[in-house]
């Protein structure tokens, strides 16, 4: 739509004088910087570090605000996965009879670790997709390195996961009341390391999805389906083993899935007292790849996020 021509109002004042600018403004005035120029990587990271308080304060404030309204508040974050575990256990373990097959002798603990671990990545991806649109006003009012937004949404999800993990461990121990056997071992100490890996993985994911959802708003509508598909493909409900997935190529592709490798190293450490090198390598490799790639991809559009 061509904007209609407007008549310049008569002022009776001299027309505004255009400043006489030299050809190379920056060379003539060394104190000036081009607004919107990309900060060098080092400065960008330093600016991020200077605002670390902000990245932590925002999610804390949000969580606190959430708590104030409902009596069960934060508890719902724990109740949701519990209900999911109960439903999946009933359908897959009981009705379809996955329990007892090779690789899933103890289905309930298997399911608990899978659901709680995947849930962290799921909610990180969801909040990553929302963050730019949700914080539009903030982006249009304050200059800060935009990567603060995905970082703070991951901080927020990580705090929720810090509540969920002890509950998960208690649940695992409680399964001993059934005929499952879960023994706490030194391998449980790998859990914090796994959390760090998953947090960084989620951050890379949030930055990637964040920019993508900024360009294509409808990503948010696809998200539930994409997440559901990913959930089923990540071996949360059934183990990705030769017994259940006979096709070698398909199994190989499913095992390349980063969510699967993170869930696997958690199960190995918590349930099977082992740490398998190639699974850790896979999880670590994906994390490094996504974190660096996601950061570069997100930063490339740094100055665009304020677009109305």
């Amino acid at each position: 739509m061509a904007s209609d021509r407007h008549q310049r109002p008569a002022t009776g004042l001299p027309a505004p004088a255009e400043p006489a600018l030299p050809d190379d403004v920056l060379a003539t005035y060394p104190q000036l910087r081009r607004v919107g120029a990309k900060l060098p990587l080092r400065d960008y990271i330093r600016e991020l570090w200077r605002r670390r308080e902000f990245a932590i304060t925002v999610p804390l404030g949000e969580l606190r605000a959430q708590n104030q309204d409902t009596s069960l508040g934060q508890l719902w974050n724990l109740l949701n996965p519990l209900f999911l575990i109960a439903i999946y256990y009933f359908i897959f373990g009981f009705v379809l009879g996955v329990e007892g097959r090779r690789g899933v002798e103890d289905y309930l603990p298997f399911l608990i670790v899978g659901v709680i671990t995947f849930n962290y990545t799921r909610s990180a991806m969801q909040s990553g997709a929302r963050m730019i649109v949700k914080n539009r006003r903030l982006v249009q009012s304050i200059n800060f390195p935009r990567a603060i937004l995905p970082i703070s949404s991951i901080v927020s999800e990580t705090i929720s996961q810090l509540y969920a993990l002890p509950v998960m461990l208690i649940l695992l121990l409680l399964t001993n009341l059934t005929d499952s056997v879960v023994i706490p071992t030194w391998y449980w100490l790998l859990l914090p390391l796994i959390l760090v890996i998953q947090a960084l993985f989620n951050l890379g994911l949030a930055m990637t999805v964040g920019r993508f959802a900024f360009h294509f708003r409808d990503v948010q509508n696809f998200m539930p389906y994409a997440l559901r598909l990913w959930f089923y493909m990540s071996g949360v409900l059934i183990p990705i083993t030769e017994e259940l997935i006979a096709n070698d190529t398909l199994r190989f592709i499913l095992q390349l899935n980063p969510a699967w490798s993170i869930i696997e190293i958690s199960r190995d450490a918590l349930l099977y007292q082992m740490a398998v090198g190639w699974k850790w390598g896979l999880a670590g490799g994906w994390t490094v790849l996504l974190l660096i790639g996601g950061f570069l991809y997100f930063r490339q559009a740094e100055n665009e996020y304020g677009r109305v």
Partner: protein, 285 residues
């Protein structure tokens, strides 16, 4: 009223902000229309957004110690201009140069209504890149300046809009920014606070800062500013002494109002005439 000649171009001496043919166009989507549809439907779909050419090739330079008021009708591009200078909205043409990162008085966006004023000072301050230690140091000044000593531990939603804008102003100017941009915020405070914020702005100008002030109140512009820009549909109409520019703008507004009144009067007359001739007309056809 006689000099209509274009003033000779001058090279800035010690510029703090230079806008060089700055152009901002943005799109307003009619709806949150799915853009992915393009992939399926192809290019020949109908347009679902409107392009707004908000700032049209503006050039100006400001020097240290200037307070620049920006006036113009609603939608003339004042706020977009501020946001583009601050690098918050991407420009679509031209360049902006600045001697420091401009701080837009917009901390409101960072504040959380459900947490206390005290914690909001830290929240807004850290968003602006002020460290916690620095905020500890200036905390009392901020509270005192905002005049919120008794209320600082209440949640922000309990504050009146005036209290909120006072807190905002206090946070944004806690660490004197080199370039400050104020968008209509001063009008919300009461008279006493307005004096204090005006004094603060003058102090900044004295410290060789640069202040941009967008306001519909011509009085606040002529009170504080040393220079005024008049924007009309994204174009720079006048640039100069705030009193002269404000007077010219006021004249323009008065003329528009008079023209509008005349138009409405004519319309009314026409309607009356039509009503008078209604009977014979319908009989004729």
């Amino acid at each position: 009223m006689s000099e209509l000649a274009i003033a000779p171009p001058q090279a800035p001496e010690e510029p703090t902000v230079i806008a060089d043919r700055l152009d901002v166009t943005y799109r307003i989507y009619a709806d949150s229309q799915p853009k992915l549809r393009k992939l399926f439907v192809g290019e020949k779909q109908q347009r679902e957004y409107r392009e707004v050419h908000a700032v049209k090739g503006l050039s100006f330079a400001t020097e240290a110690g200037e307070a620049v008021g920006i006036i113009g009708h609603n939608g003339s591009g004042k706020s977009t201009l501020l946001r583009a200078i601050a690098g918050l909205v991407p420009s679509t043409g031209g360049q902006v140069y600045a001697s420091a990162i401009p701080v837009l008085l917009g901390v409101a966006a960072a504040l959380e209504p459900d947490i206390s004023g005290r914690r909001n000072i830290y929240l807004g301050g850290t968003a602006l890149g002020i460290t916690r230690e620095e905020l500890d140091e200036r905390f009392n000044d901020i509270v005192e300046f905002a005049g919120l000593e008794e209320f600082i531990d209440l949640p922000l939603r309990a504050f009146s809009s005036g209290m909120r804008s006072r807190l905002q102003f206090a946070i944004a100017t806690a660490r004197t920014p080199e370039i400050l941009m104020v968008d209509e915020a001063l009008s919300t405070g009461d008279g006493e606070f307005k004096d204090r914020s005006d004094a603060r702005i003058r102090e900044m100008i004295g410290e060789a800062g640069t202040v941009f002030l967008v306001s519909h109140s011509l009085k606040s512009i002529t009170d504080v500013c040393t220079r005024a820009l008049w924007l009309d549909h994204g174009e720079l109409i006048a640039d100069g002494d705030p009193v002269k520019v404000a007077d010219a703008y006021q004249d323009h507004v008065d003329r528009l109002k008079a023209a509008d009144r005349a138009k409405r009067k004519r319309k009314k007359q026409k309607q009356q005439e039509q009503q008078g001739s209604d009977g014979p007309d319908s009989a004729g056809t």
